[in-house]
Amino acid sequence: MPGAPFPGNQLKEYFRQTGEVWLFTVRFFREAIRRPFEWRELLHQCYTIGNKSLFLVGMTGFIMGLVLTLQTRPTMEEFGAVAYMPSMVGISIIREIGPVITALICAGKIGSSIGAELGSMKVTEQIAAMEVSGTNPFKFLVVTRILAATLMVPLLVIMSDTISLFGSFLVEHFKGEVSFRLFFNQIFRNLTFGDLIPATVKTFFFGFAIGLVGCFKGYYSREGTAGVGRAANSAVVIASMLLFVIDFIAVLVADIFYDL
């Protein structure tokens, strides 16, 4: 922050922002349950966040599965444990790598786009114009985006998991001559609900964090076009960091509920 040259000021700025984020979150929930609902805009945002990110997420997921299998295979072969490849890849993708990598990519794509979009609206005073025209800009812009991100990121993660498992299968099939059926039998035999449910639940929090940070940074961007860039940038950085914090908390919580 430009007005914070001293550590004391930086600390104060940090607490101020944290407080604002909290207020922003509370406001989101209040607005989200209050009529009227912006269904059309929500669907539009879902489309933008979900469908438009699908190719990117699918591509990275595919390569992720491919590379993970290719890299791990020689080591597993060394131990003569190549038969455990499918279950190992399945568990690591479903439980950790799929959700986290997909969420990081979403943070880069969705978080930055939301931050930049809202930031530019803010600096071009479109948000102010909406308020004047009687539309609730928070409801129309923020609530729909956060909700869309919260709903779509889990779906994107599921797609990404599936595609990366398929990528992994291709490697196994061509290198180890493992049949499709054996591959997926192995994966699902070793997966439990204790793997699938916590991994899916945490992706909702990932999506919420991405949407919230992007909207917050964009909604409160200042100082013209430079501020827009900063908003987009910090949205990605903070969202990515937050994802790992959430992931850590999710693992701790899952540890309590499931015997891992």
Binding site: L43, Y47, N51, A81, L156, T162, T200
Partner: protein, 349 residues
């Protein structure tokens, strides 16, 4: 773009359809995954619950696989510590397997490969038992765990080390030419002797082989029914005859028994008598007693002979005297009367 009024409705509809498609696919994928996981955890098919009691479950966890004859049939539902030495493993199996798992099936703890996760193996029992029922406790068999196996291996290794040390010493001694084995290896004379022994052995074995053939012939003959042995082996009448003979011998022996007892008694008596006789003879021999003295003492014998001669002479004279006395008138009457009574007694009976 969001505020662009051109064709906004048509585009929005198309987008919404695409969104719906995407959402549907993703949700279906999730449901499929959940169903697959659930089906492997036997959640949706009706379950057969059985348990088994172990002393050591070697790190078995709830959710581990249960195999019947090597096929995955269910999972471990829970582990319950019964007391300080026993753990009950509750298993949830596919209901369809109920007719195949018998009450005498044996559960054991195994692992999926050397480094794989633990699992419960159920193996069919040997007997013909009835099918297992819900809530049954089947017997368990504790296999040697990996840890115990490694411990044993460690001990074995130590022993092998000791043994190889000893072997090393022995080979060193052999190389130096000490001991019998060294002699065996290095002494050519001994080797010749050994060769000779082996040749002898071979000859013996040849001879044995020939004997074996002869024996074979004999057995073949016996098989064919020639000779006494064959009759003994195969002819049942011989056995009957033998039985009869033996029973007759038994009867005879029973009858003989009292005779033998008496004979025994007599022998005993004879033995006693002979012992007494021997003692007497010994005494006689030793010259003890008057008889002994008589036998041994020649002077006494001469005296005796003299005495007997005198006696002879005396009785002859006494006879003459008696004759004379009969004819004496004093006693003639008495003798006549006596002769008459004698005659009478001879006639009466």
């Amino acid at each position: 773009m969001f505020f662009n009024p051109y064709k906004i409705m048509a585009k929005k509809t198309r987008n919404t359809v695409q969104l719906g498609f995407f959402v549907t696919i993703a949700i279906i994928l999730f449901m499929v995954a959940a169903y697959l996981i659930g089906s492997y955890e036997s959640m949706f098919s009706s379950a057969l619950r059985i348990s088994s009691v172990f002393h050591n479950v070697s790190g078995l966890q709830a959710g581990n696989n249960v195999r019947y004859s090597g096929i995955n049939v269910g999972i471990v539902e829970s582990l319950v510590i019964l007391d300080d030495t026993t753990v009950q493993v509750n298993m949830k199996l596919d209901k369809k397997l109920q007719p195949f798992i018998k009450k005498d099936a044996v559960a054991s703890i195994g692992s999926d490969g050397l480094v794989g996760s633990m699992l419960v193996n159920i193996n069919p029992g040997k007997g013909k038992s009835t099918a297992v029922e819900n809530g049954d406790i089947i017997p368990s068999y504790s296999r040697v765990g990996t840890n115990e196996l490694l411990n044993t291996l460690g001990k074995t290794n130590e022993n092998i080390e000791l043994i190889t040390n000893d072997l090393l010493l022995i080979t060193k001694q052999i190389i130096k030419g000490k001991g019998t084995i060294a002699l065996l290896l290095q002494d050519s004379q001994l080797a010749d002797g050994l060769r000779q022994s082996v040749a002898n052995l071979q000859a013996t074995s040849n001879y044995l082989s020939a004997s074996g053939r002869q024996l074979e012939n004999i057995i073949a003959q016996v098989d064919q029914g020639d000779g006494l042995l064959s009759q003994l082996l195969y002819d049942t009448t011989v056995i009957d005859n033998l039985n009869t003979s033996i029973s007759q011998i038994d009867t005879v022996a029973d009858q003989l028994e009292p005779f033998l007892l008496e004979l025994q008694q007599s022998a005993n008596d004879i033995s006693a008598s002979s012992a007494t006789l021997r003692a007497t003879l010994e005494a006689l021999n030793a010259g003890e007693g008057p008889a002994g003295a008589m036998l041994r003492d020649t002077a006494a014998a001469n005296n005796l002979r003299q005495t007997l001669e005198n006696l002879n002479e005396g009785t002859a004279r006494f006879s003459e005297n008696m004759e004379a006395l009969q004819h004496n008138f004093l006693f003639r009457r008495y003798f006549k009367k006596q002769a008459k009574e004698k005659e009478k007694a001879g006639q009466e009976p």
